[in-house]
């Protein structure tokens, strides 16, 4: 009896597995063929689509089959990552919205989590802002999982969509610090300022992430400014030095020395101001020299910078008494007597 049950069960399972196996084999063969066709289709469409996106050729025909549409969408996604420039990106967006909007909208409402996620990835890559309302609907729906919530908020941030500020304060699912960092990382300065204003309302993970992102942004700004110092244009260099002094971004003494001896007084002025913020002891001799600069503004700034150095007051004292230059003596005395002049 037991043997009978076991044997029939085994045969039943064996039969089931064989059936599944047969199905999978057929599916594999079909899938392999489909993939080959997809690759071929992509190759065929690649050039016409590229020419169109670059503005050289007529719009490619409406995809005749599902396969062609898939090929087109994948190509478009590749190009969106490859081609830079506002005009091209705008064309990609317009093309995507014309050809794929309806389809992606249906995908967003799919029962399958994977399909919804893929739709979100496409919308993100192709910057399809026209689907914002649909994404928001998905966000508010009951089916949205944590992964989707993070992705949707990231898309909102990328698209500079203002309500995201409120969403991050009270997200549907509890977000990790990492998720917050991704979302904040994509926010424009304007949105980030708005979140900053409501800092206290953020959950702790969001607060930590916000502080991190501000630090990262600042550092990026600093390196941006530093790169500008190499500019040929005087005005750019002056503005960069000024901005760095404003935010207290440190600069290496050697580089500061270079700007302190610029032929342009504006540059010397801002370099002196930055030197004061950096408190570079090594710059003391150079700043001392600037006390007798031809420009009054530079002299004043150099004195102010010296006053901030630990041993600056001694230097100012010496200048007030011994400097050959009358202007230098005056400026030093003025600072020693406690006036910022």
């Amino acid at each position: 009896m037991a043997l009978k049950i076991a044997v029939s069960l085994t045969f039943f399972l064996f039969g089931t597995l064989t059936a599944v196996f047969a199905y999978l084999m057929v599916r594999k063969r079909r899938e392999n063929r489909r993939q080959a066709a997809l690759r071929a289709g992509k190759e065929q469409l690649r050039l016409p689509l590229l020419r169109y996106l670059l503005g050289d050729e007529e719009q490619p025909p409406w995809p005749a089959s599902l396969l062609e549409r898939e090929a087109l969408l994948e190509l478009l996604d590749d190009f969106a990552a490859l081609l830079k420039g506002e005009q091209v990106q705008a064309r990609i967006r317009a093309f995507a919205e014309e050809y794929f909007e309806g389809w992606l909208r249906r995908r967003l409402a799919s029962r399958h989590w994977g399909e919804r996620m893929n739709a979100l990835f496409f919308i993100e890559d192709l910057q399809m802002k026209a689907l914002l309302a649909d994404i928001e609907r998905l966000y508010r729906s009951r089916i949205a999982t944590k992964g989707e919530v993070v992705k949707i908020l990231t898309i909102f941030a990328k698209f500079d969509y203002r309500p995201v500020v409120v969403y991050v304060l009270q997200p549907k699912h509890e977000l990790t610090e990492f998720a917050y960092r991704v979302i904040f990382g994509h926010m424009s300065e304007r949105l980030l300022q708005q979140v900053k204003r409501r800092f206290a309302e953020l959950p702790p993970a969001g607060q930590y992430a916000l502080i991190d992102i501000i630090g990262i942004r600042r550092r990026q700004e600093q390196s941006f400014l530093q790169e500008r110092l190499a500019s040929e244009e005087l005005e750019i260099r002056v503005r960069a030095l000024k901005a760095m002094a404003e935010i207290g971004a440190p600069l290496h003494a050697r580089q500061l020395a270079h700007h302190l001896s610029s032929p342009h007084w504006q540059e010397r002025l801002m370099a002196a101001r930055l030197a004061g913020r950096c408190r570079e002891e090594r710059l003391l001799p150079l700043l001392y020299e600037r006390l007798s600069d031809r420009s009054f503004a530079v002299r004043a700034e150099a004195a102010a910078a010296l006053a901030r150095l630990p041993s600056g007051r001694i230097a100012l004292n010496r200048a007030a008494q011994q400097a050959d230059d009358r202007y230098a003596r005056d400026m030093a005395r003025q600072w020693l007597e406690g006036g910022e002049g």
Partner: protein
């Protein structure tokens, strides 16, 4: 005679009950895995990870490659590691006193030069003789140390590692390009809740490998290797995924796993046992429970590390003996956790599972085979029982493996050729009749070894998959 017949019949019934229980348990795991994999099924393969690559917030990782006499494959392995996509990482190869030309091969190929690097000795190891760095690849370091075994080499690597996460990779393995990002993703996203994560190990024999990268996935011609391919599918897709879903995982494969460094150091690093990978994971679980911190150790099916499987019976036997001995050693060492409610599901579910199913499995299987043979000898009335036992063994061995193969094809689909799938399926059906008894016997030998406290290392002759 009658007495012996009743003994055999009693034992046979016990084996039967055991096997039915195990089949039921694995069927449950199969369903869990199936639902999980199905959910991910339609997801794009790369998009979810793109973000991490650009991000300045992906935490850096130190990859540790212990190497002992791996001159054949080491250069290829290291090259594949240097090509992985991850924002910031370093590769530390630890030459564990190799007696062949492993170090020389590395020095020649990467033009290594000796450098000075401060090592914080947080874990005790054998002496590190020299540290080399490659000028062409500044993130490649090679430690040359005295021989001390794999665990010792890994610990030396941990001491030298600069980054907060460490990843151990066997010297003969090849990582997929994006495997790293995929295995790191849950650790990053969880804000430190996940302290260890491991990927899938698959058999590289039969795959086409160029310049340390898998170019085309294939299936070996050798039956022994095909069976191992199936065995890995079964172990990872069926076993680990199901266990990982409930934080019950006790093994993150030594061939490819990422760990949080502070936790590993606090747990005392790797221990010198035959199964140092399992030992570490058990200790991490233990530490987390003792500190009462809700930490997770997970398995992710998608990132794949391809490794060379033994191709001869001799090497396979050695490997299985060593693995099983390691399993027993670790379980024995942590026997205090067994059925200890203080350790929650690890003590109440995970460890019993490993004792009963993983450790005793081969013993019971072997007894089952003996009972079948004996019953056939005893004459007609026992034939029916022998057949019953055999049928259940087919369920236990062949059908579950066939299910694992189908699960792979349904979800992951790593094998491109239809013919590979056909061969995998048919070979899996033969498992009960030759491969299972063989490996069951070898694993039993491992248990015997453990009792004899044989400490020798089973080292396998390597051809080098990535050469």
């Amino acid at each position: 005679m009658a007495f012996w017949q009743s003994v055999v019949s009693f034992v046979g019934n016990a084996v039967l009950v055991y096997m039915i229980g195990v089949v039921a348990f694995y069927t449950f795991l199969l369903v869990v895995s199936f639902w999980h994999l199905r959910r991910l099924h339609r997801l794009d393969d790369w998009e979810p990870y793109e973000e991490l690559l650009e991000a300045s917030y992906a935490k850096p990782v130190s990859i540790l490659v212990p190497a002992y006499n791996e001159e054949a494959g080491i250069v290829g392995s290291v090259r594949s590691l240097l090509a992985i996509e991850y924002p910031q990482y370093e590769v530390i190869v630890i030459n564990d006193g190799s007696t062949d030309r492993t170090l020389e091969r590395l020095i020649e190929h990467f033009e290594l030069r000796p450098v000075y690097r401060v090592i914080r000795r947080q874990l005790a190891t054998k002496e590190v003789k020299a540290i080399y760095q490659s000028p062409a690849y500044p993130h490649l370091f090679v430690l040359d140390k005295e021989n001390g075994g794999k665990a010792d080499a890994l610990n030396a690597g941990i001491n030298a590692a600069r980054y907060p996460y460490i990843c151990s990779i066997d010297g003969d393995s090849v990582l997929e390009r994006h495997a790293f990002l995929k295995v790191m993703k849950p650790m990053l996203e969880s804000d430190g809740e996940v302290i260890a994560s491991g990927g899938t190990i698959r058999v590289a024999n039969g795959c086409q490998i160029e310049r340390g990268e898998i170019v085309k996935v294939g299936l070996s011609r050798q039956p022994l290797v095909v069976m191992q391919t199936i065995e890995y599918l079964r172990a990872f897709l069926l076993g680990r995924l199901g266990l990982s879903r409930h934080n019950l995982l006790l093994i993150v494969s030594g061939a490819f796993g990422v760990f949080s460094k502070p936790w590993v150091i606090e747990a005392g690093g790797y221990a010198d046992t035959a199964g140092e990978d399992m030992e570490l994971v058990v200790r991490l679980h233990r530490l987390a429970r003792e500190k009462n911190e809700p930490k997770k150790i997970i398995y992710i099916p998608d990132p794949v590390c391809w490794t060379e499987a033994p191709e001869t019976y001799r090497d396979l036997r050695k490997q299985r003996r060593r693995w099983h001995r390691g399993l027993l050693e670790s379980l024995w060492r942590h026997r205090a956790l067994l059925f200890n409610p203080k350790y929650g599901s690890i003590g109440l579910l995970s460890l019993p599972y490993f004792w009963v199913i993983e450790l005793l499995g081969p013993v019971v299987e072997l007894v089952g085979y003996i009972v079948i043979i004996l019953s056939l000898c005893f004459g007609t009335i026992y034939i029916e029982f022998a057949l019953l036992l055999l049928t259940v063994s087919v369920l236990y061995g062949s059908l579950l493996s066939a299910a694992a193969v189908l699960l792979e094809e349904w979800t992951e689909r790593k094998f491109p050729n239809v013919s590979d799938l056909v061969r995998l399926f048919f070979f899996s059906l033969t498992e009960t009749f030759w491969y299972r008894p063989l490996t069951a016997w070898w694993r039993c030998e491992g248990i015997i070894d453990a009792f004899r406290w044989q400490k020798q290392w089973g080292s396998m002759k390597r051809k080098g998959v990535s050469a």
